[in-house]
Symmetry: C2
Subunit: 692 residues, 2 copies
């Protein structure tokens, strides 16, 4: 691929972007589309629909960009919770680090690559992109030290940004958020209005304030013997204070670890009801099975990825399909096929991944919707790293060999690293176009909400339903967007010194993303549930992983370029990066796993001092109720959105069974709040006796 | 190696065993050696020394064998604690599983191996040992199904034995032991008599029974601000009940996870005082550094192992050292060199491993002596598995190639498995002699306590000190003996179907071990501290690992022998074994990590009902005191025994500093007991300001 092809690709994408963004700015002004583009505002801010026509409605405008830009982090926190803050942290971190990298690498590394060999340069537009990569630097060149230095600068900047603008910041945010919600947001009602779902009165059993052990934990042994014939798979147990609930959730209850399993309950609107009935005895088997399933899915995805890589290598393609030779000789067809088609095809294949992984995560048996999304997010991330990055790199470079060779390469780490060192720079042009197509174009389609728009048109003009579909509101698809950002991060780090041309494209991508996602958070998505920033450890670890991959590839490349001293200087960098990660793990990770006792006790005391216990008691009775959620329409939308319809009759039967089965014993004085509920859930391993 | 050489080796070893065991039975009757052979009895049962001479004293006898045999498990539990029970569980498990394996494999597999190829067999004594291995079965033979069946029988038996005679049993033992110590052993005094070490009276600060949060946890924030200028690296904090202490040890205290780190305190006599001062901030670096150190040590140990393997391959040795050719041609020299010398040399090299690993574990920073031993045990186990098993196997088979090839083999997993499949059966004769020399002979030397005996003789006859050295008492070296047993287990599983001749030798080894170790537990070793059976998870995991290694090697061998269907049948066996392990991990592992709340509360209540609180209060004041232990001579012996002398002056200075520094605030009503102390320790990350 040469500069012309790149410019063609960039041109196509910029053109598409401008068209789509203009289209968006017009479409959003049409009152028919208000459910598509202002789902959140309608529900949460009760925005009125303005039906009057004026000339401005058909002119594109940029006011929404200014609005999105000016939204403060506090507003984002209020709208999208900690998860949204984490999301924008990733975007901001990426913009910062890749701006730094772009400055250094474009000024320092790019010229060295370009003049790396004594050769007669063509005119710049006809120059191959390979000339701008490290592949153009001659062996044993002293200039490789500049690459080494650039990598040091990037790594150190990344660690500093991760630690002091992000890890520490995230931790403060979490601490602050906890305090905020405990003091100020207490009077603010939940936006999901729940009704008491009407069980029999023996559903709640109060335990009197007996000797102090009871305050800390109900007498499980007694309850156990009481109801040995009426065991149920899961129960919510309410406690007087957050601290007590937290303690019970953290410690082992009985000497058979599978008999009483306690854990913090998810937020009421975060409970994934249809997974609650799974007995603990089956959970570990489900976990193993779904992980195996995900791995098998990843391996079988090799086929389309390999095919796509074939497209970017025209000569090989012509060899395999001789009849294409005529068409491919045409100049523009060739440019289109090498510069644009591969990433489009890959993107289309990739659309099947999120639903599949979401299905795996559902079957896995997580009891919270945020947990399910988090688990899917991690699976999709692994998928992207393995199939988009590593397999693209390796299969692209060995497409000419028979398939058996490919496995040989994968099975031997030594061969693989050497292969990586040659293949990664060679695949630079593919990934540059990937950023253009998958990155830029996908942002535009995100903005346009094509699927929702088509649905709306279908309802209005085909079904002649003037109100359109009743509800488009979705929660933000963290499980697809976070892995995407992290994949681009990996590409950025890896190619920063190998092919610096990718960096400005990435900065543009992340900057556009900043605007687009902010706009979408403000207008489109509602926060139905949140994990409380629990995605951050995944983000942190992936960034470190990307850095280390970049360093190891640089090490291999330096080795191949016969610059052993420069390669040797990378080794301490790898070790220091890993040590930094380990330190962060020690310092910050426990906070993401649990809350500190000190904070909990403070929160409990404040509530007691302010006499809020009665209020909390009232809320508690109606909070954990499946039907009030379902009747609100929220639950059903979410379920059908992500993993197929939930069997309503089964769900109803379960709740009936639950209300017929007296639950375990409750002191319902705990409190619900948006980010953190301190309620413990007890899961027994026994199979429930469902009334058939 | 042929049958003759094996018989020579076995003959030498049996002869040595008989000599040493007879010598032992005479030496143990001599009153001068009573401190060597009856250390525990002297200290704990106050055995009198009988000085009268009678004729029986110079005749070997077998009464001690009968005595050792008749000792019940309850007696072992009383003498050596749960750790001793775990140890004998390993021995008994090994005897059982290898007896089963020996019966099946000697009857079913061995004849098939012997008649595996159409060949003229020599006289049995001149037959090569290779004829008895799977290497003798011809390719594509239907008889390989018998091997497959035998492996199934062995795997299933091992899992059943592990689960229903051992994992469950261990768990019951632990539960029972907890109850026992809580109910009955309360009146029994600790055998280490401690004196109050005399700090200033402000060492203990009582917290009054304030609002319920205080019962659960002292107000850390307040304490923190009180003494911000007097921070110390570690403090013992005592609680009113076990349950409270347990809760505090399990949950995160403050929102900076490195500021207040809580953990259960070790038993008073288990505290490793000189590691207490290490700040938590340094602990993770120490852990990483020592692990790296241990890995480097293992890699550098490749040299002697490779050398030893050279000895067992005579032809290669003659090529490398041509001047040896004359000597090596002599029949008996050749038999000695191939059959006996290699394992002796390896054994001598291996003597340097335990002290080195113990040093690593000390530097690592564990605060309990049992934890240090456990960590060393694990390191030594990894060492044995890597260096004795895998490297012996691989280096032995590739000794003829240049060293660079060896790394090639190690770096490619595919090549390595193929290599393993050919090398493991080929190394059978080496490991058979290894069992004879390292196994049988080391048991005899364990019995004879050669080092202590020589010390005694030196004291009595050279220094003319009639009482001998004052104290020989040692605690049992679990860290060397457990890995040894597990290594032999690995050999047994791996070679069970490949070279069944090893199995009867192993059964004999484990049976002798049963007698010898029982005798030693009864007479020699005292229990200074124990981990409470915490070695069991390591044992369990290693056994599963051994099984899986055996299965994978069998799979590779079947593949090489062109029996793909039989190989395919091994795959589900591997999966089932791993699933079984995962189930056990879910079912039993949490119990080894923590105690259940139910049990703790029961114990607390019983104590309260029986009015034992005052008594416990008394004990508490003097329990955690470094000097009373040192003055008893125990601490110094242990310290110098394992990791070099402890700097007494520094230790003293620390305690002074500690007593000058008012510790953190205590309600000292908790109770000490032999197996389980429920006292929490707080480590702050701040550097202590030691008065200089």
């Amino acid at each position: 691929m040469n500069v012309d092809a790149l410019l063609t690709s960039a041109g196509i994408n910029i053109f598409i972007c401008i068209i789509l963004w203009s289209l968006y700015s017009i479409l959003r002004k049409q009152p028919e589309n208000v459910t598509v583009y202002f789902g959140r505002k309608i529900i949460q801010e009760r925005m009125r629909r303005d039906g009057t026509f004026c000339f401005e409605r058909i002119l594109p405008s940029a006011s929404w960009i200014v609005k999105a830009w000016r939204t403060s982090e506090e507003e984002i926190l209020a709208i999208g919770g900690l998860d949204a803050v984490v999301f924008f942290r990733i975007v901001v971190f990426s913009i910062r680090i890749f701006s730094i990298a772009a400055v250094f690498c474009m000024l320092l590394v790019l010229p060295l690559n370009y003049y790396g060999q004594e050769m007669i340069h063509k005119e710049i537009h006809a120059e191959s992109l390979d000339v701008f990569t490290i592949g153009n630097v001659k062996q044993g060149s002293q200039w490789l030290w500049a690459h080494c230095l650039a990598l040091y600068i990037i790594s150190v900047s990344a660690c500093i940004l991760l630690y002091s603008n992000d890890a520490e910041n995230m931790y403060r945010k979490i601490a602050k958020h906890n305090k905020l919600t405990s003091v100020d947001q207490i009077c603010e009602p939940c936006f999901i209005q729940c009704n008491f779902c009407g069980g029999t009165s023996n559903r709640f059993k109060m335990l009197k304030n007996e000797p102090e052990q009871f305050v800390e934990k109900p007498n499980l042994a007694q309850l156990d013997s009481d109801k040995s014939e009426k065991e149920c798979a899961a129960a919510f147990v309410f406690f007087k204070t957050r601290y007590s609930a937290f303690v019970v959730s953290k410690i082992l209850q009985s000497s058979n670890p599978m008999l009483w399993v306690t854990d913090m309950a998810p937020e009421p609107y975060d409970v994934y009801w249809s997974n609650l009935w799974i007995t603990y005895r089956l959970l570990w088997i489900r976990k193993i099975a779904t992980r195996l399933g995900a791995v098998i899915f990843m391996v079988f995805f090799l086929a389309p990825v390999t095919f796509v890589q074939g497209l970017s290598q025209l000569d090989e393609l012509q060899k395999i399909f001789p009849f294409l030779r005529g068409i491919l000789r045409k100049k523009y067809v060739s440019r289109l096929v090498t510069g644009y088609l591969p990433s489009v095809v890959l993107m289309l294949f990739l659309y099947t991944v999120p639903p599949t992984m979401m299905l795996f995560s559902t079957v896995e048996g997580t009891i919270s919707r945020s947990g399910r999304k988090k688990s899917a997010c991690r699976k999709i991330l692994y998928f992207y790293i393995l199939n988009v990055f590593f397999v693209s790199v390796l299969s692209g470079s060995v497409i000419s060999g028979p398939i058996i060779n490919k496995f040989d390469i994968i099975s031997s780490p030594k061969v693989m690293t050497a292969q990586l060192a040659t293949a990664v720079p060679a695949q630079a042009s593919f990934f540059i176009t990937y950023v253009l197509t998958s990155g830029w174009a996908s942002l535009s389609s995100e903005l346009l909400q094509l699927f929702a728009l088509l649905c709306n048109i279908f309802y209005r003009f085909v079904l002649c339903n003037k109100d359109g579909p009743s509800d488009f509101t979705l929660s933000f698809p963290y499980h697809t967007e976070v892995p995407k950002l992290l994949l681009f991060g990996l590409l950025g780090f890896t190619y920063s010194i190998l092919a610096p041309l990718i960096l400005p494209l990435l900065v543009v991508y992340f900057s556009l993303g900043y605007i687009v996602y902010r706009n979408q958070f403000i207008n489109v998505y509602i926060m139905k549930y949140e994990s409380g920033g629990l995605l951050w450890p995944t983000v942190h670890n992936t960034t470190i992983f990307s850095l280390v991959v970049a360093q190891i590839i640089a090490l291999c490349v330096f080795g191949l370029k016969k610059a052993p001293v420069a390669a040797g200087f990378i080794v301490p960098l790898v070790i220091l990066t890993l040590l930094f990660n380990e330190y962060c793990r020690q310092r910050f990770y426990p906070l993401f796993r649990s809350v500190s006792a000190q904070e909990l006790i403070e929160m409990d005391r404040k509530d007691e001092r302010h006499g809020r216990m009665e209020e909390i008691y009232e809320q508690m009775q109606s909070a954990y109720c499946q039907f009030s959620l379902a009747s609100n329409g929220m639950y059903e939308v979410e379920a059908s959105d992500h993993c197929g319809a939930v069997d309503g009759s089964r769900a109803r039967e379960e709740v009936k069974a639950r209300s017929a089965n007296p639950t375990l014993g409750v002191i319902p004085l705990s409190r619900i709040q948006q980010a953190t509920t301190w309620i413990s859930m007890l899961l027994t391993s026994q199979e429930r006796n469902l009334p058939k």
